[in-house]
C-alpha cells in the first residue's frame, strides 16, 4: 500500500511538474455595494494568478468559488491576496458567500 502511494505521489508530481515553473499573472477585483467590479475578469490560462481582492464595503464579505476551490474572508476596507491556478482555459464562477447574489466570473484564456 505504501509503495502504491509513493508511485502515485511521484506520478502526480510528474504530471504537474511543468505547470509549476510558470507563474506571474496578477489581477485585481473590488467588491463595492455588494457587487464585483469587474464582474468578468480575464486572466491568462496556464499560469498561477495573484488575485488582489479589495472589499470597499463597510461589512465583511467572503470570496468563495467552488470552481476555483477558494474561500477567503474579506474584512471591510481591506485588500487580500488569493492565489489561483494555474487554470485551464474556461470560465470560473465566484461569489460572496455572505451575499450569495453577489456573483462574478473569471475567464482564463
Amino acid at each position: 500500500m505504501t509503495r502504491t502511494a509513493l508511485v502515485f505521489i511521484l506520478l502526480l508530481a510528474g504530471i504537474s511538474g511543468p505547470t509549476l515553473a510558470q507563474s506571474g499573472g496578477s489581477a485585481t477585483l473590488v467588491v463595492r455595494d455588494h457587487r464585483f467590479e469587474p464582474a468578468e475578469l480575464t486572466v491568462p490560462a496556464g499560469q498561477k494568478i495573484e488575485l488582489q481582492v479589495t472589499n470597499a464595503d463597510s461589512t465583511p464579505a467572503e470570496f468563495e468559488s467552488g470552481e476555483l476551490r477558494r474561500e477567503k474572508l474579506l474584512p471591510p476596507g481591506k485588500t487580500v491576496t488569493i492565489y489561483v491556478g494555474p487554470l485551464r482555459p474556461g470560465q470560473y464562477e465566484f461569489f460572496d458567500d455572505f451575499h450569495p447574489s453577489t456573483r462574478g466570473h473569471l475567464v482564463a484564456r
Partner: protein, 277 residues
C-alpha cells in the same frame, strides 16, 4: 431571515456532524460529554475572538494569516483524530465488551479526552468565526431589524444541531460490537478530508504547490455546492475538483493513521483469541 438561517445552518451542520461522530466514536469513555461540551464552548468563544481580530489575522504573515490559521486548526484536529483513532484501536474492544465495567487502563489511564475537546473546538472554530462575522455584518447593515436576524440564527443553529443528533442516534443503532469498526473508519476518513482541506488553504496562500490545480472534476456526478455534496465534503472530504496536493494530503493521512490503527487492532485480536477473557 431565511437567507441567514440557511447560511448559519450550513456552517453549524459541519461542526455538528463532526461532534456527533466523535461522540459516537468515543462511546463508553467516561466524562466524554463534558469534554465535548467544553470543546464546543471553547470553539464558540474562540470564534468570537477570531471574528474580532479578523482584519489583524488577515494582515499577519504577509497576508497569509487566514490560511495559516485555518490550516493550523484543521491539522491540529487531524492530529487529535489520529490520537483518538489509535487509542480506540487499542481499547475499543475493551469498551465494547465491558460497557459499564471498564478495564483499569480505560478507567484510570490516559484517555483521549483532551482530543475530544480539541476536535470539537476546532470544528466549531473553523466555521464559527465566519458565522459570527456574517451575522455581525448583517446586524451592522441593519436589514430589517434584530428580530428576524435572531430568529434566522436560532433556526440555523437548531437545524444544524438536529442533523448532528440524527446522525448520532443513527450511529447508536449500530450493534455495539460493530460500532467502533464503523466509527473508526468514519474518523479516519474525516481526518483525511480535514487534512486535504488544510492543504487546500496552504495552496491558496501559495505556501504549498498545487501539483495540478484540478486533477479531476466530478461536478457532473455530485456538485460540492449541493447539500449531499456538502455533507460528503464534511464526512469523507469529498472534493469535486481536487488539487494534487490535496490528494496527497488525503492519502498520506489515510496511511499515517490507518496503518498503525490496523496493526494495533490486529494485534489485539490475536491476543484476544490467545487469551480468552
Amino acid at each position: 431571515m431565511l437567507a441567514v438561517a440557511l447560511i448559519v445552518f450550513r456552517e453549524t451542520l459541519e461542526a455538528a456532524l463532526i461532534a456527533s461522530i466523535v461522540l459516537a466514536a468515543s462511546l463508553g469513555i467516561p466524562h466524554r460529554h463534558r469534554w465535548v461540551a467544553t470543546g464546543v464552548a471553547a470553539g464558540v468563544l474562540g470564534s468570537g475572538v477570531v471574528a474580532v481580530f479578523a482584519a489583524g489575522i488577515e494582515a499577519a504573515f504577509a497576508g497569509s494569516g487566514q490560511e495559516l490559521l485555518n490550516a493550523g486548526i484543521l491539522w491540529l484536529a487531524v492530529v487529535m483524530l489520529g490520537w483518538h483513532s489509535i487509542w480506540m484501536a487499542r481499547h475499543g474492544r475493551e469498551l465494547a465488551a465491558h460497557a459499564g465495567i471498564l478495564g483499569r487502563e480505560v478507567a484510570t489511564g490516559t484517555r483521549p479526552l483532551a482530543a475530544l475537546a480539541v476536535i470539537t473546538a476546532a470544528a466549531v472554530l473553523r466555521e464559527g468565526s465566519e458565522t459570527v462575522l456574517f451575522v455581525f455584518g448583517i446586524a451592522a447593515s441593519a436589514q430589517g431589524g434584530a428580530a428576524p436576524l435572531v430568529a434566522g440564527v436560532f433556526i440555523g443553529v437548531a437545524g444544524g444541531v438536529v442533523a448532528g443528533v440524527l446522525l448520532y442516534l443513527g450511529l447508536l443503532r449500530i450493534p455495539l460490537h460493530r460500532l467502533f469498526a464503523v466509527t473508526g473508519w468514519m474518523v479516519l476518513l474525516l481526518a483525511a478530508g480535514l487534512a486535504a482541506q488544510g492543504a487546500g488553504f496552504l495552496v491558496q496562500a501559495d505556501l504549498l504547490p498545487a501539483l495540478g490545480d484540478q486533477l479531476w472534476n466530478t461536478t457532473w456526478l455530485l456538485s460540492e455546492e449541493s447539500v449531499p455534496g456538502r455533507i460528503l465534503h464534511t464526512l469523507v472530504g469529498y472534493v469535486a475538483r481536487p488539487a494534487g496536493m490535496q490528494v496527497i494530503a488525503y492519502v498520506a493521512t489515510l496511511i499515517v493513521i490507518g496503518l498503525p490503527m490496523r496493526a494495533i487492532s490486529r494485534a489485539g485480536r490475536v491476543k484476544a483469541v490467545a487469551q480468552p477473557l
